[in-house]
Symmetry: C2
Subunit: 180 residues, 2 copies
Amino acid sequence: MEYTVLGIAWKRGPCTTYALMMELSTSTSTFYKKRAGTTYPLVERLIKNGYLQQSAEVGARGERSVEVTELGIGALGQWLTDPIDLGEAAHTVDFIRLRTFYLGAVNSKDRAGFIDGALIQLKAHEAACERAIARYKEMGDDFSALATEGVLFETRARLEWLTKTREQFLSIPQGKPPKR
Amino acid sequence: MEYTVLGIAWKRGPCTTYALMMELSTSTSTFYKKRAGTTYPLVERLIKNGYLQQSAEVGARGERSVEVTELGIGALGQWLTDPIDLGEAAHTVDFIRLRTFYLGAVNSKDRAGFIDGALIQLKAHEAACERAIARYKEMGDDFSALATEGVLFETRARLEWLTKTREQFLSIPQGKPPKR
DNA sequence: CCGCTCATGTAACTGGTTACATGATTTA
DNA sequence: TAAATCATGTAACCAGTTACATGAGCGG
């Protein structure tokens, strides 16, 4: 999304499109598998619309760098100040949870396999979040640290939910729910 | 996503594309604002690929209904049985959290406005989840009830996170983090 | 000097959104 | 009988993904 790129560019100051792309693809929070094909056109679009501009700063090897314009900072502030509506606040994605809606289609053994596999991945993700938070703190990026704390809260909630409901998920008979 | 439609069609048994569309757009868990323009082509695609088929059942008003084929049930089972990888398990979306990464761009008063507005929406969402769970239990759809319990856990974690970090978010000075 | 990372793109494809369009049936 | 809901689509647009393509600089 445009605002994420705008936000990263604002935090970093003048940097290359490549650097933006790298941060987009490695962040614990960003949900796009942004690669070159997305980032370069997106940055182009933002420049065309006046939110980013070519920076005067040029690297040793002639890399071009971009920076946020006044207009861009204004748009970022607008986005952060606009009250969030219920639709956006409630909109979350969780691919583990998504599957659990239909677990009745498979037997208990398969359900256990899925849930236990998911728990392992979530624990790995929890550890990754902790490392990311430490890294952000070290870098002095307090907002990213607090935001990633949110990912950690979420991950622990998912672990707790799956752990507590595991037995119930396994005990429900296979098949679709009764018709009404 | 295809699997969600497949899952809903499996749960419901023969039903119209319209009914699938309605469930997609009202569910607490589905993240697509699926409208006609998405659902009809998607169902067409699933029929073409053999996962859905026209059902013999026809409504009083001549509505066509679709149902899952054996192949479709197989694909659904496959999806549910395949172990989830870290990338998919870690991939979550939260538009409130996304903004908090860049809250340093605005002053403390604006941050407080954003956070407090978000808390109000999250509380409303929490109540909506509770109602949805009760409804699913009433309908005898235990898997959806347990899955939506997951949404509830998540929502409460987000509330707890924002409540606990609110003061910290407000106390950090405005501006971008120091360069390294 | 070979391979890796930095750096910058392009082109084709896919899939979702918006907006439009139509008509039947139900309900107030 | 008028409005709402059920029901079915289409077409233009937009944005993200995949895969391809290139070349410079750096470290072993």
